[in-house]
Symmetry: C2
Subunit: 250 residues, 2 copies
Amino acid sequence: MTSENAARPAARRLRADRARQVADVLRRQVLDEVYKAGPLPHEERLAEEFGASRNTVREALDLLRGEGLVRRVPGAGTLVVAEKVPHGLDRLAGLAETLHEHGEVVNEVRAFGPVRAPGPVARRFGLPDGADVFYVERLRRLNGLPLSLDLTYLAPDVGAALDPAELAHRDVFRLIEEAAGQPLGHADISLEAVNADPHSATVLEVPRGAALLMLERLTRLADGRPVDLEYVRFRGDRLTMRGRLLRDLP
Amino acid sequence: MTSENAARPAARRLRADRARQVADVLRRQVLDEVYKAGPLPHEERLAEEFGASRNTVREALDLLRGEGLVRRVPGAGTLVVAEKVPHGLDRLAGLAETLHEHGEVVNEVRAFGPVRAPGPVARRFGLPDGADVFYVERLRRLNGLPLSLDLTYLAPDVGAALDPAELAHRDVFRLIEEAAGQPLGHADISLEAVNADPHSATVLEVPRGAALLMLERLTRLADGRPVDLEYVRFRGDRLTMRGRLLRDLP
């Protein structure tokens, strides 16, 4: 089948395949705020730019509407409605540090205090089973809109030194560095896409099943000690992770 | 509200909040194949490990079932059914290179040939508007199961040098390096979580709306020339991105 499909001319491809192609390129234009100032160009203009039919362009715009990036407004055309912010993958930084150009991050603290560490958490921290850790849960908003729900386990000494009043406006990273008297070193991260369960969807104010970017991050101090284990659900329609990969590590 | 919530004892939190906490820690256990060999421990054992009620553990397992990671088998308990593979965020590598320990990557070539570059694509390559680029579309399978749908634009000289027969079993990265006579240099990436549109869902064999990890990647040769612009939809239930972030860049 490979050679037959490979030879299939682009013109004879399904419109859904063509619409996906157009949507993927347009998505970047939308996210990079190329069209932020006003409506997207008319369908006819986009059809020309993409060498596609108007029907294909319309279907591509439907895909981006489905992602919550654009909205069709009668009489005004297609408008960008997303406020999707970039989060760097190149450097270990807190959300407020990362997004300071994009607005104010405010954290609603949903839980704060010592808890008995679940076995797997204790082991990640190198603590004995049954040890206490510090648990912090925050709903994080950017300019008033929910951006992420963060579940955070902290090493007990670091957690106990935190002032809960500071958590509303400051990143945990900075507070840890102050509490520990040394900078952070590195973090191991995992990124996944998951569908929002009903309760998380309610908290993040998204439809049930909305795509979330799920980050697990174990952060260590400069001396190597693990102090911060986080499980972060970012709203998929509000955040992009960006970074640079090198073919060969330096 | 912050201080009131902050003081709320963990025991009085909603069961949904507690279930999310348990699920997030369990997810890693499942993905790291801690429980791969057999069923998960009994609910009672997990309840003890997590200091949670059995009802909370049951709800946590329901969340992981919703993500397609585990399945409840009457008489056998809860089994891990996910085959989720890690993709490195630390180094620029192709899928087959990255996953060689996990099985065989086979690519079904859905489109292959020159196309007129959409305006934004031409500009990313530094080509004049209306220039041709090479378009390749592949459905990529790992051990027979769909893993990703890759839409790839290649610089015209690089694309024209490709042998379509090679694309079924080899990474584009290696083929580009052979065609260009030099190694790749670096890539700028964006990662997002999106819900699968109906057609992409059909191609990837996931339910409509399933969470996908969407990667955009512009890859350059060692000499800095952009040669490969890709839009990759990874199945959220089959892939984790993993990497390490440093607090300060070296």
